[in-house]
Amino acid sequence: MSVSAMSRWLHSARLGVGEHYRIIQANTLSRIGFRVIVVFLLVSLFAPWIAPHEPWEMLYDSEGKLASLRPPSLEFPLGTTHLGYDLFSQLVLAARTTLVIGAVSGTISIVIGANIGLIAGYYGGKVDEILMRLTDILYGMPFLPFIIVLIALFGRKIEFVILAIVLIIWRTSARVIRAQTISIKQRQFIVAARARGASDLRIIYRHILPNVLPLLLLYAAFNIAWSIITEASASFLGFGDGETISWGGMLYELWLSGKTRVAWWWFAAPSVCIVLLVTSLVFVSRAYEEVANPRLRKR
């Protein structure tokens, strides 16, 4: 792979929306993934208008009986829960929670991870030592006990779920960005920038950051995907926000109801959505991975 091909791809990642669109469109899987994400985004945006019922509204059929554990039908497209809640409405409204948690914690974690990685990698020495040992400590932190303590201290609130996810998830991006920063800071153009009197901050954010951008976008997509999975796991175990409905939370309610073996539709809908969204994010991130690592590209 020639240096010029590399730089061509590197600067393309810094270009406008059109370029990003081109990167995503260049690959069939990422094209599909991108469309799935757009559909989920639209659904979550218009969720209150799409959902036919309230998420926790007990529904009765035409004969006046509680619509409990109904399999998918025309009336209830995705079936109902044992308490007669409409799963389709729940799913649509939960998409919003899931996407918000994914986007917010994915973004915050990549911002933290990128900054820690850039600073540790650029300054090296003691700064690097301290920041990377901090990262190591977080690597040693088991997620579940951590979120249990956090929820026990502050209550089951969406903010603390996000906080717990962010604190755990930034570590990988920090390490990867640090490694890339170390490699880029030794390049000749960084020395040249320093010889022009560029300050450390200018070198980090003006000269190194754009060069790690493809990697950053790749890890942003990963982080969002992982946030969604993590949120689902936390909710499934009952550590989600009790006030808002999420896909993981739907599975948690299924577990609580004890109908796991009976209501396959209850289990299917949120699971498929989680898998579909996370896979789509991974597909899109693959497109960026090809930008960051052209060896993966088809020749």
């Binding site: 020495g125 020395v191 320093r194 022009r196 009197g197 003006r206």
Partner: protein, 345 residues
């Protein structure tokens, strides 16, 4: 530098500069006892083989040394300002690039691949001067013209440039703020002969237009001969010989310079066999106690291995760091004989 050299207005004065690297193998003296002045509008050439300390020398000058390096000097002044006394922030804001700019080694890779070439120069100008983007862009167009690049190339990315174009862009960048001193580190290395020639011609033309002094660093004697007013020959971190360009080529006096001269082809003596200096350059670790060239020198005497020669003034600003510097007349014909060098092995 002896007082006999009459430089009316030295732009840069360096006295007894030393740079040590602390490595796992102990102290390495990359540069030691380097003394020189650069006069106004002068091109001062520093020649030496790879690893002789040329790049370390300019890094010390520009404060680009890595953390494990430690530099000392009796004096290092730019236009009378004491560079050693200056804080890092002051140095960066007042001296770097505004006063002393650098055309870095392998300038080909010195452009950030993700920005347009013109934008990089504009950004650099605006980091030091408070002028608008449009004004800066005009200045860049001017600079591109000076180095012979079309101004519409400002919109290109570095990978769209050839090696020679990138080199010229770097030279343009170094000129941007009218610095008093431009340091060119191997400006033609890695370019083919034709492009080299074009760059050299361009540097010569620029010299006529601007008032900046230039420190030119290279391992290529031909490049240095073509451009420099004065030349220093560096070996093992020290200046072995220092003289005006004409004097150095007419009356080379240090055995190392004599050996170097043998190793370069000359148009007048085509067909003559080139004579190389046997052995390889040293790494100077531990205290400096002898002449670094002693092990490879066919003319060494007992004293060379025991003590370090001090610069010997041969008049006309010609200085030789050799115990036998005054015997140059006798050594020159011997040095031209290849058997002299062979006897070492």
């Amino acid at each position: 530098m002896s007082d006999t050299i009459n430089i009316a207005e030295p732009v840069l004065e360096v006295k007894d500069l030393g740079v040590r690297y602390e490595t796992s193998q102990g102290m390495v003296h990359a540069v030691s006892g380097v003394t020189f002045d650069v006069g106004k509008n002068e091109v001062f050439g520093i020649a030496g083989e790879s690893g002789c300390g040329k790049s370390t020398l300019i890094r010390a000058l520009l404060r680009l040394l890595p953390d494990n390096a430690d530099s000392t000097a009796d004096r290092m002044r730019y236009l009378g300002m004491d560079l050693f006394a200056m804080s890092d922030a002051d140095f960066r804001e007042k001296i770097l690039w505004q006063e002393i700019s650098l055309v870095p080694q392998s300038a080909m890779n010195s452009l950030n691949p993700v920005y347009r070439v013109g934008d990089q120069v504009i950004e650099a100008i605006r980091a030091h001067r408070s002028i608008s983007k449009v004004e800066a862009a005009e200045r860049v167009a001017e600079l591109f013209d000076v180095v012979g690049l079309q101004s519409d190339l400002m919109q290109s990315f570095p990978h769209e440039f050839s090696g020679g174009m990138r080199q010229r862009a770097m030279i343009a960048m170094s000129l941007a703020l009218d610095p008093g001193l431009i340091v060119m580190d191997e400006p033609t290395t890695g370019l083919d002969v034709l492009v080299q020639e074009r760059i050299l011609r361009r540097i010569r033309e620029i010299r006529a237009e601007i008032s900046s002094s230039i420190i030119l660093i290279t391992h290529d004697i031909a490049v240095i001969a073509e451009l420099s007013d004065r030349i220093a020959i560096m070996y093992g971190g020290q200046f072995m010989e220092q003289a005006s360009a004409i004097e150095l080529f007419d009356n080379p006096s240090h055995p190392y310079t004599l050996g170097l001269k043998n190793a370069f082809p000359s148009i007048q003596n085509l067909g003559n066999e080139l004579i190389s200096i046997p052995g390889s350059p040293p790494t100077i670790s531990g205290p400096i106690s002898c002449c670094p060239f002693e092990p490879r020198c066919p003319f060494h005497i007992e004293q060379c291995a025991i003590s370090l020669p001090q610069p010997l003034d041969c008049g006309n600003g010609h200085e030789v760091r050799c115990f036998r510097g005054d015997e140059a007349e006798q050594l020159r014909p011997l040095a031209a004989d290849k058997n002299t060098w062979r006897s070492l092995n």
